[in-house]
């Protein structure tokens, strides 16, 4: 599977596996779900 792109200043490149894992750890998904926040 192709990993998403990361931009660091003017450089755009495909994420490394480590960068991709860090992004996934934030809850990121490609397609998304309902991100409307749930009230506390």
């Amino acid at each position: 599977m192709t990993r998403p792109n990361i931009q660091i200043d003017d450089e755009v490149r495909e994420m490394t596996e480590e960068e991709y894992e860090a992004l996934l750890a934030t809850g990121w998904t490609l397609e998304g779900t309902d991100e409307t926040p749930t009230a506390d």
Partner: protein, 181 residues
């Protein structure tokens, strides 16, 4: 002298130009054009000793998913706190979403396939004290205001923004510094 009123036919000196124009209240630091279909945008050398407090804007870009945009400072991936107060333009109650020792600020901005925006003030990121965030949020039906706190006493020079899902395309991130005096 913080301000000066010029009069007709007065000679505009280089010194005055530098003081009152180039060093105005809100000073441009840098801008970053966002590429195509990027999930993460890191902006380096955004914060420095010249300014304590900053305004960060992002306009004219789009997102593949209608969602919020998150932010991290430097390489810090813990110790983020925040409360976002929001409602829907469709009406209804006022709600809140909170963060307690999170890995990032969840609500730096937001948007959709039509337009993405970030408008946030970041207080003292370069100083070795905790950093505060004030931002407004618009995506989906969510319209809100967010207050954030990052508890590390770390001097940050960079920040990273990324949508909760999908990618960003286009637009410009611009960083301004608040003149100290």
């Amino acid at each position: 002298m913080a301000t000066k009123t010029f009069v007709a036919s007065e000679v505009l000196t280089a010194s005055d130009t530098n003081t009152y124009l180039a060093n105005s209240g809100l000073v441009y630091v840098k801008s970053q054009t966002v590429g195509s279909a990027v999930s993460t945008v890191a902006v380096s050398n955004a914060f420095n000793a010249t300014f304590d407090n900053y305004l960060i804007t992002y306009t004219s870009g789009t997102q593949t998913v209608d969602t919020n945009i998150k932010m991290q400072l430097g390489s810090a991936t813990t110790n983020y706190y925040g409360v976002m107060i929001y409602s829907s333009f469709l009406g209804g109650s006022i709600n809140n979403a909170s963060q307690n020792n999170a890995a990032q600020w969840d609500f730096a901005g937001g948007g959709n396939s039509s337009l993405s925006t970030i408008h946030c003030e970041v207080l003292a990121p370069f100083l070795s004290i905790p950093t505060h965030l004030s931002s407004f949020i618009r995506y989906s039906t969510v319209y809100g205001r967010n207050v954030g706190y990052q508890g590390d006493s770390t001097s940050f020079t960079a920040f990273t923004v990324f949508p909760s899902a999908g990618t960003l395309t286009g637009g410009t991130i611009t960083v301004y510094g608040y003149r100290k005096g």
